[in-house]
C-alpha cells in the first residue's frame, strides 16, 4: 500500500473519448476512491498530440503534454494508461513504462491479442501489473472474473457478443430500420460506428477479443490469423426475417471451446435460439457466456463500448494496480497478467474450421422453375448433408426466388464442396448466404 500521505499518480497517453471518460470518472468519484484506498488517485500527466481541443474537463496547468516519454519518465507517475490504440507506438510506450517500473493499463485489444505475452513477460520481470479490462466487453468486468474469480474452475467454453457496433447494426436491421448499408450509414452519422467500420463489421475486433478471452479462460495462446472470421456484411433483412420465423435471432458471435484437439475458435454471424439469453442482447450491449466444469453456465452482460462504461474498466485496472503497490512502489506482482505465470500460458493449435460441423441456414436465390430443388438436394445428399427443412416464399425479384434450406449437423468441408457445386448450377442466381445455427451453445457436446 502506498503510504497514507502519498497519492498514486496516473499518466494517460491518448486524450480521446475514453481518456476523457477516465478523467471524468477519476474526478467524479475522487472522494469515494480515496475513501476506499486510503489515499487519493491523482492525474499527473496526460499526453496527446492534440493539446488544444476542449474535452470539457478541467485540468491543472502543466498536466497536458505532447510528449508521451515525458509522462512515462515522470517519477510522479506510478501507473501509465495507454489509450491511443493500434500497435505502434502503443507497444513501445507500454514496454518503456513497464521498464520504468510502472504498472500499465490499456483498452488496446489489437495490441493485447498480438503482443500480450511480450507485455506480460516484461511485467513479470519488473513485478508490475498489466491491466486490460477495458479491451474486452467494454464495462463488463469479464477479464477479472476469468483471471481471479473463476481461477479455480476449468473453463470449457467461452462465447458471446463482444462487438457493440455489429450488434447495434443487427438489432437495427431486426427492428426494420433498413438493410446493412443504410443502418451502417446511420450509425456512422450518430458516431456509433467508425468512418472505417472494417474492424467492427468484419469481425476483426471480435477476433482480437476472442484471443484475449481464450488466453484468460483456457490458459492457452492462439494466433489470431488461425481463427476463422466472418463479418455481417452479407446479412440481409430477409435472413433476419427467416431467422425470426424459425425462432432465432442473428448475432455476430465469438465462440471458443477448449477441446483435446486444440482450441475451437471462430467468429461469425450465428442464429441463436430466442430461448437463449444472448438472443435478447440488443443495441450496443455485449454479453459473454462461460461454461465451466464445476460452475456450469454463467453470463456477463453490459455496455460493450462508450466513453463512461469503458472508462470504468480502465479505472478498475488503475485501482487494482494501486492496491498492488506496496510502500509507494510496484513490487511483487500479485495476480499475473494472464492470471498465471507466463510460462504456463501455452501455445495451442486452433482446430481447423473445415474439421468442425454445424447446423446451417442456407439461403439461395434460384430460378423460379421446377427441378431446381431436386438438383440442389442431390448435391447435398452426395456430400451426406441432410436437409432438415426447406422454405420457399414468393419474391418480387424477377425470375428469382429465395430458397431457404436448414441442414442437420454437417461438416464444414462437405458443406463447402457442396456450395461450390451448387454455385455452379445455372439456376442459382447469387452467392449463397450461409449462417451457422447454434443449438448447443453452453451445452456439453
Amino acid at each position: 500500500m502506498a503510504s497514507k500521505a502519498k497519492a498514486v499518480g496516473v499518466g494517460i497517453i491518448g486524450f480521446g473519448t475514453i481518456g476523457t471518460g477516465v478523467v471524468r470518472v477519476l474526478r467524479d468519484e475522487a472522494k469515494a476512491i480515496e475513501e476506499r484506498l486510503g489515499y487519493p488517485v491523482r492525474i499527473v500527466r496526460i499526453a496527446d498530440l492534440d493539446t488544444r481541443t476542449d474535452r470539457g474537463v478541467k485540468l491543472r496547468k502543466g498536466v497536458l503534454t505532447k510528449d508521451a516519454r515525458k509522462l512515462i519518465n515522470d517519477p510522479e507517475v506510478d501507473i501509465v494508461v495507454e489509450l491511443i490504440g493500434g500497435i505502434e507506438p502503443a507497444r513501445t510506450f507500454m514496454l518503456e513504462a513497464i521498464e520504468a517500473g510502472k504498472s500499465v493499463a490499456t483498452a488496446n485489444k489489437a495490441l493485447l491479442s498480438e503482443h500480450g505475452p511480450e507485455l506480460a513477460r516484461a511485467a513479470e520481470r519488473k513485478g508490475v501489473a498489466v491491466g486490460f479490462e477495458a479491451s474486452t466487453g467494454g464495462g463488463i468486468p469479464i477479464l477479472k472474473v476469468l483471471r481471479e474469480s473463476l481461477a479455480g474452475d476449468k473453463n470449457l467454453e467461452v462465447y458471446g457478443i463482444v462487438n457493440g457496433t455489429a450488434n447495434y447494426i443487427l438489432t437495427e436491421m431486426s427492428d426494420g430500420r433498413g438493410e446493412f448499408g443504410e443502418v451502417l450509414e446511420a450509425a456512422q452519422r450518430m458516431g456509433l460506428a467508425e468512418a472505417d467500420p472494417t474492424y467492427d463489421v468484419d469481425g476483426i475486433d471480435s477476433l482480437h477479443k476472442l484471443v484475449i478471452l481464450v488466453a484468460l479462460a483456457f490458459g492457452k495462446r492462439i494466433k489470431p490469423k488461425q481463427v476463422h472470421v466472418e463479418g455481417i456484411r452479407n446479412i440481409s433483412s430477409i435472413d433476419i426475417a427467416y431467422a425470426k420465423e424459425f425462432g432465432y435471432a442473428i448475432k455476430l458471435l465469438a465462440v471458443a471451446r477448449d477441446t483435446p484437439k486444440g482450441v475451437e475458435a471462430r467468429v461469425h454471424p450465428t442464429m441463436v435460439p430466442v430461448s437463449h439469453l444472448l438472443s435478447q442482447v440488443g443495441g450496443a450491449f455485449n454479453a459473454v457466456c462461460l461454461r465451466g466444469r464445476a460452475l456450469g453456465t454463467s453470463i456477463y452482460y453490459g455496455q460493450g463500448a462508450g466513453m463512461m462504461p469503458t472508462a470504468t474498466a480502465v479505472v478498475a485496472d488503475i485501482l487494482d494496480a494501486a492496491r498492488n503497490m506496496r510502500d509507494g512502489k510496484a513490487g511483487a506482482q500479485l495476480v499475473p497478467t494472464y492470471g498465471r505465470p507466463l510460462k504456463t500460458l501455452r501455445s495451442s493449435p486452433v482446430v481447423a474450421m473445415a474439421s468442425t460441423s454445424h447446423e446451417h441456414y442456407i439461403r439461395l436465390s434460384v430460378a423460379d422453375k421446377p427441378g431446381v430443388l431436386a438438383k440442389i438436394s442431390s448435391i447435398l445428399g452426395k456430400e451426406a448433408i441432410s436437409i432438415a427443412t426447406v422454405s420457399q416464399h414468393a419474391s418480387p425479384a424477377r425470375g428469382a426466388v429465395p430458397l431457404v434450406l436448414r441442414t442437420h449437423r454437417a461438416g464444414e468441408a462437405a458443406l463447402k464442396r457442396a456450395l461450390a457445386k451448387i454455385g455452379r448450377l445455372g439456376d442459382v442466381r447469387a452467392k449463397p448466404v450461409v449462417i451457422r445455427v447454434e443449438e448447443t451453445l453452453g451445452q456439453a457436446d
Copy 2:
C-alpha cells in the same frame, strides 16, 4: 506469496454438500491451481460432527476430525472455510480463526448479514481476508465484481433474483406444473428445497443477500429487520396467467436503491416485463443487475445454488486469500472485507416502505354481481389511486369471480388503507393478492 516449497493449507468446518464440492474442486483442479499460484493448495483438515458418512471423496487419514478447534489451531491450516451455516457456533469459529491469524471464507449469508462488520473489524486488525463470495448468487462472482471491478463507479441500484429455490418454484408454476404447495413438495422430494423452506420461500434468504449486496454496492450498512420482506406463498397460478397476459413474469426480487433519504431496500414478488432479461431467468438460476452512474446497467447470471457452482465461489475466495499471503503468512490485507476500510462502511436508514410508490397488480375475489367494481373504484379513488386497467374473467368458483386491477404508480400507505377498506366489503371473498409491477428497473427515477 507463500514460499515455493510450501503448500497453502486449508481447513474446512462443515462437511456437507458444499464442503464436499470444495474438496472435489480442489482435487479435480489441483494441478491447474498449483500451476496458477506457483504452489499447491492442500486440504489439511476437515471438521464435522459426522465423521462416518461416505461423501464419495477420498481423504488422507487423519484429515477428518470432530473437533473444529483442533482445525482452527492447526499451524498447517492457513485458511479456514466455514460451511456449517447459522449464527453460532459459526461466528465464534470464524472469530477464533481470524484471531489465530488465518484468513477465512464462508458461504454463510445469515452470519454475514448480521455480523459481517464484526468479522471485518477483527480481520482488519489481523490483516487477514474474509471471503464470502459463496454467500450471495451461488457461483456468480458478483461480490468480487462489486468489491473490486466496479470500485471506481458509483452504484445507484442493485436488484435481482438471488434465491434459486423460490425462482425454481415460480418457474415450475409458470410452466403449469401446479400450485405453490404441489410444486414445493415436488422440489422437496428432489432435494431442491429444504424440509423447512421458510428462508427460501418467505424471502428471508433473499433479504440476507440483499443486505450483503447493499454493503458492497453502496458502502452502506442496513439492518435486516428494517427491510420490507414478502415471500411467494400467496402467488397462485392464476396470477402468473394474468401476468403473462399483461406481458410480465412474476419473480421474487430483492431490490435496493441508494437514495438521498437512505437506502430503499425490499424483497417481494414482482411483475417483471418480459422484455427485461430478468424475466428470462428460469429454474434455480440467479441474476443480479447493477446500475452504475458511469457503467449503466450490467447483469450477472449463473447458478445460484448447488454443490459445484457454490464450491467454485468458495475456491475463488481460497485462491484470493492464498494470493494475499506473503512469505507464507497473512500480512497486509490487500482488499478489505467490504472493499473499503470498515470505518467508511456507514450505517444507513432504510426508506420506509410506506413512503415508496409503485404500480400494483391487485387480484380480488368478489361476488359475481353488479355494483362491486363501483364500490372498489370509489375506495381507490378516495385514496387518489388511479386504476390503469380492469380485467374480469369467468371463474368456476361458486359465486366468486376474480377481479384484477392494475394501478398507476401509487403510494404504499394509500394502497394499504384502500385495501383494508376493500377487505371489509361484504362482496370481497378473500384476502387481496397484491404484486408490485416494476416498469422502471434499471432506469433512473
